[in-house]
Subunit: 189 residues, 2 copies
């Protein structure tokens, strides 16, 4: 076997690239996050992890809600900009056209193809400098042009993939096949 | 604004496609999972969600560890096969060349380009039919041919993206730019 050990790293490929929104002292703030995943199907729960010194954390705790906004590849520069610059230093409230939904306090970005409005249901502190937030997705927002059969379609959304450690962004490539179907063609040895 | 509401769904794009491994009653078992995300940087923690009736859950609880194996697109059919068929009904222990690492009881797949060996550190039950497992990544395994500058490189790994609701698999596309750099070119309006 030619396997080698690489050490303990968060090597998951790919990761999504999302913009988390929260109201901080009454103003919309946004931060780019790749530590984000679905953790439950029904009711739908998403997890995000933020370093505890981030400006956004305060807003999530104050309001009990946040948004997840999925940018497309045309928004690459501004998406990365949000991850480089802290809301402690710059005002991010005017960068986007912001709208609100059922929760009233989760600022969402009109320009991103997809928005998930989330109610904070659990905070997990594992003793590091990170805070893990579980949010229940109470509503999602998109536009007809991004849908196929009533659901968002990944090639229309054109999301940004994040690749950790090389720290690069990538585009979604070609379709490979249908889930829960293509495996029917596998013949065990 | 032309946004429409779509309801509460786990709409995250893309999701990864990973194969979770565990020893169930002493035999390696594997299941395909897309509800998987990094939840902490140091020490590195990953979350996976499994429906509680799955065969694999029993093994994770018994041994206190599991593996995350990241297949490439050439393994598409067998990867999907593992998600269609339960270890309750078929013996998945002979499908792969299996190896073990530091934890001794987390079966890993030689054929997948990347393996994360995980020690179970927390189980979160949110009251649904799912169980959320947090694993500390204690070691990772790969081969030199999948690395660039000492780390796994996504284009060499060639992982499988999962797109929920349309339920299709996709390939990684072209590189868009470097993280924490391309945003320096963004000029706020």
């Amino acid at each position: 076997m030619s396997k080698i050990t690489l050490g303990a790293f968060p090597y998951l490929y790919p990761m999504p690239t999302v913009i988390v929104g929260a109201l901080v002292e009454g103003k919309p703030n946004f931060i780019t996050v790749s530590y984000c995943g679905i953790v439950q199907h029904v009711p739908p729960l998403v997890s995000i992890t933020l370093i505890d010194r981030h400006h956004t954390n305060q807003g999530i705790k104050e309001t009990g809600c946040f948004s997840i906004n999925i940018p497309n590849t045309r928004m690459l520069k501004i998406t990365d900009y949000l991850g480089i610059n802290s809301g402690d230093n710059i005002d991010k409230s005017k960068l986007f056209d912001v709208f609100y939904g059922a929760l009233k306090q989760a600022p969402m970005i009109t320009e991103t193809p997809l928005n998930l409005e989330c109610r904070l249901v659990k905070t997990v502190d594992m003793g590091s400098n990170c805070e893990i937030y579980f949010g229940e997705i109470v509503e999602s927002y998109s536009e007809k042009k991004y849908l196929k059969n009533g659901h968002p379609y990944i090639k229309k959304l054109d999301p940004i993939l994040f690749s950790i450690n090389s720290n690069n962004y990538f585009k979604v490539g070609r379709k490979l096949g249908p889930a829960w179907k293509i495996g029917l063609r596998y013949i065990p040895k």
